[in-house]
């Protein structure tokens, strides 16, 4: 091997660890670019956040830094320099030398990225072996123990011999982190490593990333769709839209005074912990690669767009100290219009003293030998939104399924309008089923791919009976309008829709039978932040217009402030705190709630990042 890319710029190199210039990735068989004109640099020990919605090309950029393009994509231009190494000009063999040793990768979903057939110890050891990082097997074993300690995992032999499925999500992600930092790389690409983790676990993982990057002087690219997560971690922030970087600058400045209209809308979509502020989504949807308009790709969704925006792609221009934005009207400012949602929310307080439309009394539920819900009682008034917050494993979904009759409880009862309901949905009268509807977490799995939107939304009408086909079609059109979908969408199949549109269809399906209660089970957690904001806006409007009662289940505490009147916090199958949203968020009484709030990545009132320090300790132990 002639080029030995390891020993480039050694010694006290003051310059950036990574310089990316003019990166361009195209679709392999024509069809245009996926990303283009991407340039940035990262200093040693610095974390650069790369934010954007799904489809914006941020993962493509991250993988290109390792000289990798997924099937169907091809890196066609630009350069990636890490020290003296020109990554994009390396041969396959030289790339293998560099990957894992100089540049490493932390995947989005460690459950899928760790090999299910290999013990975690084997997967750690093979990185060291492939890069000859250790002289002997014994040294490698010592190194593995050291690596596991660094990421706060137990370094016992029994743990090292486990398979990935025997670890929790947080532990799996720590293994991936240990692997990435094993060979002391110069650059680590972290691709949404905390998506899908609980807030406390996420806070622990983020703290580990911050510590490792700082103590080993590693440059890190942190990719996320969640600005709040990046805010607590990155010194600088780059925002991507439709394959271009539209704004880059110091994280605090960018969040407090965003120059690009897209960034401003993205910031406005982040839920805040500070109370009942309305969220605003971004109207329209991001263009897919190969389907991007000429000129500024954001122009069709931008309220500031001028004629010039639609013809020529604006260049990145300086708008402040080390702050660039790709918008000619960046200086024009203008606050994001928040719409009438604010006033609506204010007038939405649940009427005090009204009889609950739905109440659950001492629900206990579980699986064969485990009790997951241990006696939970909650009630929701007409038009009220009650948020049920808890981490995964707290029993919130099981509780909701028990109420809906999808998971028969072991004991306890459910009352709808004061009438007790049968344990299973099958044995409940049609009227009771009509009045209570369930929206599932994952709109990619909950819609039948072989049915059109009209068939999907119309299905409950057929099941619950009554009415002609014309009446049903009219009702479907009416509901689609309520969830702000164009009528033409009725003829589409789910795979033609974006995630946000699918979730609107799922909500329309729930609304079509005119229910009194809507159970929303993590309905926004599979969606981008901006889409989440739009869904929350929608639900808030539906409450006001239709007097719907909503049970909103989420693990996202900041989100609660934007939607719910009351919050119930669940841990270990029990409700440990319940109260008005404002009170619970500002003056939490249970220590566990305080810890949840401390762990939640969120922006402060002025858009300033609240660092997400890990809360100490664990959720309160279950009562014996």
């Amino acid at each position: 091997m002639s080029a030995h890319p390891g020993h480039g710029g050694q010694g006290g190199h003051p310059g950036p660890a990574v310089i990316v210039t003019g990166l361009r990735v195209e679709m392999a068989h024509g069809g245009g670019d996926i990303v283009d004109e991407v340039s940035f640099s990262i200093a040693p020990g610095e974390v650069l956040g790369l934010a954007g919605e799904s489809g914006s090309g941020k993962t493509t950029v991250g993988l290109a830094l390792l000289g990798h393009a997924r099937r169907g994509a091809r890196v066609t231009g630009g350069s990636v320099r890490v020290g003296a190494i020109d990554v994009l000009s390396l041969t396959d063999r030289e790339l293998r030398e560099v990957r894992g040793r100089i540049i490493s990768y932390v995947p989005q979903d460690p459950a899928a990225a760790l090999n299910p057939a290999l013990r975690v110890g084997t997967q750690l050891r093979e990185v060291l072996r492939a890069h000859r990082a250790c002289a002997s097997a014994r040294e490698a074993s010592e190194r593995i123990v050291e690596m596991l300690r660094e990421v706060a995992l137990p370094a016992e032999p029994a743990f090292i011999r486990r398979y990935p499925h025997e670890l929790s999500g947080g532990q799996q992600q720590r293994i991936a982190l240990a692997m990435a930092f094993a060979c002391r790389p110069r650059l680590v690409v972290l691709d949404e490593p905390t998506t899908g983790l609980d807030v406390t676990t996420q806070a622990h993982v983020l703290a580990t990333v911050r510590k490792l990057a700082a103590s080993h002087q590693v440059a890190a690219l942190y990719i996320s769709h969640d600005l709040a997560v990046i805010a607590g971690l990155a010194q600088r922030l780059a925002v991507m839209y439709a394959g271009r970087i539209v704004e880059v600058g110091a994280a605090a400045e960018l969040l407090a005074a965003a120059a690009h209209p897209y960034t401003r809308r993205l910031v406005a979509a982040i839920p805040r912990l500070t109370g009942q502020e309305p969220l605003t989504g971004i109207p329209g949807r991001a263009p897919a690669p190969g389907d991007r308009p000429p000129g500024c790709a954001f122009a069709p969704r931008c309220e500031l767009a001028a004629a010039e925006c639609r013809t020529a792609m604006p260049a990145l221009a300086v708008v402040g100290a080390a702050h660039l934005a790709r918008c000619p009207r960046a200086a024009a400012g203008g606050a994001v219009t928040t719409g009438p949602a604010a006033s609506r929310m204010a007038g939405l307080a649940a009427p005090a003293g009204t009889a609950p439309v739905l109440s659950a009394e001492r629900i206990r539920a579980g699986y064969r030998d485990v009790t997951i819900v241990k006696g939970v009682s909650l009630a929701i008034a007409r038009g009220e939104c009650l948020a049920l917050v808890g981490e995964s494993g707290s029993g919130k979904t099981t509780f909701a399924r028990a109420i809906a009759g999808l998971h028969p409880p072991a004991s306890g009862r459910v009352l709808l309008d004061g009438q007790p309901l049968a344990a299973t949905a099958r044995r409940r009268p049609a009227e009771a089923r009509r009045r209570m509807q369930y929206v599932f977490q994952n709109p990619y799995g909950s819609l039948n791919p072989r049915r059109t939107v009209r068939q999907i939304v119309g299905q409950p009408l057929r099941v619950l009976g009554g009415g002609t086909r014309q009446a049903a079609d009219r009702r479907v059109a009416e509901v689609l309008e309520q969830v702000s979908l164009p009528p033409a969408i009725a003829r589409c199949y789910p795979d033609q829709l974006s995630g946000g549109e699918r979730q609107r269809v799922a909500i329309a399906r729930a609304l079509v039978s005119a229910p009194a209660v809507l159970i929303c089970d993590e309905v926004t957690s599979a969606l981008d932040v901006s889409v989440q904001a739009a869904i929350v806006e929608l639900l808030t409007r539906l409450r006001a217009d239709l007097g719907l009662a909503i049970l909103f289940i989420t693990h996202n505490l900041p989100l609660v402030g934007s939607i719910a009147d009351r919050v119930a916090v669940m841990a270990h199958g029990q409700v440990i705190e319940v109260g008005a949203t404002r009170t619970v968020l500002r003056h939490p009484s249970a220590p566990y709630t305080r810890q949840l709030i401390a762990s939640a990545p969120a922006l402060g009132p002025a858009g300033r990042a609240i660092p997400a320090w890990p809360g100490r300790g664990q959720p309160p132990a279950p009562a014996p």
């Binding site: 169907g72 093979e126 492939a130 609980d198 995964s392």
Partner: protein, 358 residues
């Protein structure tokens, strides 16, 4: 496993792994979790359970075989000896077959005999079935083993290589050839092989694989060549196609991408990361094909006049030799059950996740 991916480089639907209906999965860092410790006992219990199930399956098969051969309405003795048989001969045969006893008693005697290794007397050859079939069992077993020893590694390697060279010339070419071969019945393949290699075109191999009594099949490898080739061609295309499909899916998985991004050599990526995960579904197909070999061998042995259980079965059916037919039917059923059991065990061995769920 790998989710279906659309062409776009970023996957839609980032479903948080931790919230997708996994209420039992909290994350206390460092808290030990159970399945590792339970695994070994689980495998033993699983094996015992499956062995019992297999025995039950065989018992059910024995009832069907017995009913189909002896207990059906009509007189088996008459069927065996023909219409012109004398009443004395019929009576003697009925006595020998114990047809004059109650049906359940007959069945019980037959099962007890099977379990004690007393398989009865062949009616046609007038010698114990055990002696009649012993050599033929060895011959057929050897034929199947040799065919399996060639076809399984060959098809696994073919499938892997085609998946690795996905959408290249080799992949497309092999896919067409395998599809054609899979479409040909084995007697056509056998006859074609004879025409091409043993008669007019090239005469390099014997057209029939006759073994003298007492001669072992391994004493004359050239006699085995054509039957083995025919069986390999009958089985390998299916296994290779499933192997390719399974491997393609695994190669698209996040963990294979991760293995590459760790800088592992391509050989390690393929053999350590991809292959074990791709083999799981393939084991089932291999088992089905091995079991199919045990039955499909009848045709091949007939084409090549190979003295194995296949030709014995064919002869016994023609001669109404009930005890032989019964034993062979049970034998073939036994191979099916054993092959599927072996496949389940092999799948579990390459899938640690399943060990915890037994």
């Amino acid at each position: 496993m790998a989710s279906a991916r659309s062409g776009s480089p970023e996957r839609p639907g980032k479903v948080p792994a931790g919230t997708a209906g996994d209420e039992a999965r909290a994350d206390p860092p460092g808290a030990p979790r159970g399945p590792a410790r339970r695994a070994r006992g689980g495998v033993a219990r699983f094996l015992l359970r499956r062995a019992l199930m297999s025995a039950a399956v065989l018992a059910a098969v024995s009832a069907v075989v017995f009913a189909a051969t002896e207990a059906l309405p009509g007189d088996p003795a008459q069927a065996i000896l023909g219409r012109s048989a004398s009443p004395q001969a019929l009576a003697a045969l009925r006595r020998q077959l114990r047809l004059n006893r109650p049906v359940l008693q007959q069945y019980w005697d037959w099962i007890a005999g099977l379990l004690h290794g007393q398989l009865g007397m062949s009616l046609a050859a007038q010698e114990p079935v055990t002696r009649l079939l012993a050599d033929r069992l060895v011959n057929s077993g050897f034929l199947v083993l040799v065919a399996a020893a060639f076809s399984i590694p060959l098809s696994v390697a073919l499938g892997c290589y085609a998946a690795w060279r996905r959408d290249r010339a080799f992949d497309h070419g092999s896919s067409i050839v395998l599809l054609v071969l899979a479409g040909l019945p084995e007697f056509v393949v056998g006859v074609l092989a004879v025409v091409l290699l043993a008669t007019t075109v090239l005469h390099v191999l014997p057209a029939v694989s006759y073994l003298a009594p007492g001669q072992r099949p391994w004493s004359d490898p050239s006699a085995l060549a054509l039957p083995v080739a025919t069986l390999v061609i009958a089985v390998a295309p299916y296994v290779a196609r499933v192997m390719r499909a399974s491997m393609v899916e695994v190669m698209e998985s996040d963990y294979v991408e991760m293995a590459r991004l760790k800088g592992l050599p391509e050989r390690t990526v393929l053999l350590r990361h991809a292959l074990p995960n791709a083999l799981g579904p393939v084991f089932q197909v291999i088992a089905l094909n091995l079991a199919y070999l045990a039955g499909g061998i009848v045709v091949v042995e007939y084409v090549f006049a190979y003295p194995g259980v296949g030709s014995a079965l064919q002869a016994a059916v023609l001669a109404h030799d009930l005890p032989v037919v019964q034993v062979l039917a049970m034998l073939i059923a036994g191979v099916y059950v054993a092959a599927n059991l072996a496949a389940d065990v092999a799948t579990i061995l390459v899938t640690p996740r399943m060990r915890g769920q037994l």
